[in-house]
């Protein structure tokens, strides 16, 4: 029973936004002179040819959906995954499943291009077997965001470079603000404490780890072995975070719960009442709002810079 519960949590956690894990990132995609036909190299180094401007798009991945709408391709999106709720208009499109993709629904929508995050269960291969043209796009870090904007722009025939530049400018503005801070507070970002003995946090290679860095903080798990490591309460107490950040969703702990945990009253962030929550959609999805996410995080870590 326990293992089933655990699997349930892991699936929840790693569902859409983080299902790829650590896979090496290829150099920038190639492109032909005129927009179409275009041959692009996707996030799995697959070569994908798009013969003409795609008119019926299906997006499997909330961050992809957000990019497509930001690129002005929203009217051409006919289907999205169940988690795509940004912008609000995206949720009105036909749904094609969540953790498990409903292949029949995808085929029935007759898309001429399908975007998908990485899947390890053969979903991409099945979509291809159904004669669909699939482009794998799976941003996992802040630096992936510009690449995603550019790649999606080329795929749909929109100005991806322009979007990438404006996103980068906003990120750089936050970086400039936090560049010369006197102190970089220790930050503990909690992902899931369902197992109180081994709490999921963020490690190197994760999007949130990048955000903490840009915000001018130091992630207490910055030297962990994986992108989503588990820490014991002993380790968290020992590292004495000055700021604790929680996701403001139904599944995450509340600041009061965290402060009330046995032994945690010794932690600086608890003593000084610096336990904050942040909009989950901002931090779970490396999307076009990355600049906004970096700024929101920086306001928690260095509120003095934003007065």
């Amino acid at each position: 029973m326990r293992s089933r519960v655990f699997a349930f949590i892991v699936v929840l956690l790693l569902s859409i936004s983080a299902c790829g894990g650590a896979v090496s990132v290829s150099p920038s995609p190639s492109i032909t002179a005129s927009p179409f036909p275009a041959t692009l190299s996707d996030f799995q180094n697959r070569s994908v040819t798009i013969t003409s401007r795609p008119e019926r798009l299906v997006s499997i991945g909330p961050s992809i959906t957000a990019f497509l709408f930001a690129l002005g391709a929203g009217p051409r999106v006919v289907g999205v995954d169940d988690f795509s709720d940004e912008p609000a208009e995206a949720a009105t499109r036909d749904h094609v499943g969540g953790i498990k993709v409903n292949f029949e629904k995808v085929v029935a929508l007759k898309p001429d291009l399908v975007f998908s995050v990485k899947f390890s269960d053969g979903t991409i291969e099945k979509l291809q077997a159904a004669s669909l043209n699939v482009l794998v796009v799976d941003p996992q870090s802040v630096s992936d965001v510009a690449r995603t904007a550019t790649l999606l722009g080329r795929a749909v025939g929109a100005d991806g470079e322009g979007l990438a530049r404006s996103i980068q400018q906003r990120v750089d503005a936050v970086k400039t603000k936090t560049a010369n801070v006197a102190t970089r507070p220790r930050v503990y970002h909690e992902i899931d404490a369902s197992d109180p003995a081994k709490i999921f946090t963020v490690g190197p290679g994760s999007y949130i780890n990048d955000l903490i860095d840009i915000a001018g903080g130091v992630n207490i798990a910055a030297r962990a072995a994986s992108a989503y490591p588990q820490l014991s309460a002993e380790e968290i107490l020992r590292s004495d975070p000055e700021i604790i950040v929680l996701s403001a969703d139904a599944y995450s702990s509340k600041p009061g719960d965290v402060a009330a945990r046995q032994g945690w009253s010794i932690i600086g962030a608890v003593k000084n009442n610096r336990i904050f929550t942040i909009d989950p959609n901002l931090i779970n999805r490396p999307g076009p709002r990355v600049g906004e996410a970096a700024e929101a995080y920086a306001k928690l870590v260095h509120p003095e810079l934003f007065r």
Binding site: M1, R2, R4, V5, F6, F8, I9, A193, S194, D195, P196, A197, K198, Q230, S232, A233, E234, E235, L237, R238, D240, A250, Y251, S252, S253, R261, Q262, G263, I266
Partner: protein
């Protein structure tokens, strides 16, 4: 005399296991710092030892001691070496009640009481079924346990999935299901300790009646033991001990089966010895199992139930094969 020395040995084993459990953890703390922490040093080491490790070790000891004692009681009552709170579904009944209480927002003192009630209902059902079973008692008890456990699994899954719709406290339930003995507050520990003390005193008081029971109910009656009252009392003591154990640690299997069974070889089947010996040995065994759970795959941690299952399940199968009553 021999009994006393065995009890002293088991108590010493418990103290040594507990010391090991306090010395080893996710963060390295030297023995002298651990000693300083136990006696009130005010730094982070003190907090880690006093607020995290000590309650964990004490909780594991209480859980192991309770389950082993409850196992000894059930084995005596059912005259069946294959009984314990886990395989009879008693722990499952306690789990269901505890999950229900937590999902509805109950706090620390309520959860073990609910678990006690759930355990009492489950163990009474099993007892009634066993009495119906006649010569197939062993199988009936085990099947009743399987059925209760899978029923509880289904209901818990239902609670987890419907928690949104029914406005239940999903996170609290998940935390409890996942936590095992890993995170135990002093408040939970205090409530459980009172219940365990009551169950243990009850069990010691019932020991000589169970010894009379070993010869069958009719013989017990001729020896002046009222079978119905004894049965009720043993079921209640079992439920107190199993309920407290489940409230602290969730489902932990096979401790109640293996420990009393192994002890019978060492000290015989007399319950006056078996019950206190089971408590100490079960406590030491689960403290060691929890230590193993923390150390084996470090820095990852296994649930303590995985360790007891690894050791206990093969032991259970071996017993099942040897039990002629089942093979027929």
């Amino acid at each position: 005399m021999r009994t006393l020395s065995i009890l002293a040995f088991l108590a010493a084993a418990l103290i040594v296991s507990a010391a090991a459990g306090i010395l080893v953890g996710a963060v390295a703390i030297g023995p002298s710092d651990v000693l300083a922490a136990l006696f009130g040093s005010n730094d982070v080491n003190g907090t880690i030892i006093r607020e995290l490790r000590l309650p964990r070790v004490l909780g594991a000891a209480l859980v192991g001691g309770s389950l082993a004692t409850a196992g000894a009681l059930l084995q005596g009552l059912l005259r069946n070496p294959l009984a314990d709170p886990f395989v009879t579904g008693t722990s499952a009944g306690a789990t269901l009640a505890a999950v229900g209480a937590i999902a509805l927002g109950a706090s620390a003192p309520i959860v073990p009481l609910a678990a006690f009630a759930g355990a009492l209902v489950a163990v009474t059902i099993v007892w009634r079924l066993a009495r119906l079973g006649g010569s197939t008692t062993v199988l009936t008890v085990l099947l009743a346990g399987v059925v209760l456990t899978s029923f509880v699994g289904a209901v818990v899954t239902f609670i987890l999935v419907s928690s949104d719709r029914l406005a239940l406290r999903l996170r609290a339930v998940l935390g409890w299901l996942q936590g095992g003995v890993s995170v135990i507050s002093w408040e939970e520990l205090a409530v459980a300790a009172v219940i365990v003390a009551a169950g243990l005193a009850f069990a010691l008081f019932l020991a000589h009646r169970l010894d009379a029971y070993a010869f069958g109910e009719e013989t017990a009656a001729t020896l002046g033991v009222d079978p119905d009252r004894t049965t009720t009392a043993v079921l209640a003591a079992t439920a107190l001990l199993s309920g407290a154990a489940v409230a602290l640690a969730g489902l932990v299997g096979f401790v109640g089966l293996v420990v009393p069974h192994a002890l019978r070889f060492a000290i015989g089947a007399t319950h006056r010895r078996l019950i206190p010996a089971s408590f100490f040995a079960g406590a030491a065994a689960l403290v060691l199992a929890d230590l193993g759970a923390r150390v084996l795959l470090s820095p990852a941690e296994l649930p303590v139930g995985a360790i007891t299952g690894l050791v206990g399940a093969p032991f259970f199968l071996a017993l099942l094969v040897r039990s002629r009553r089942v093979v027929v």
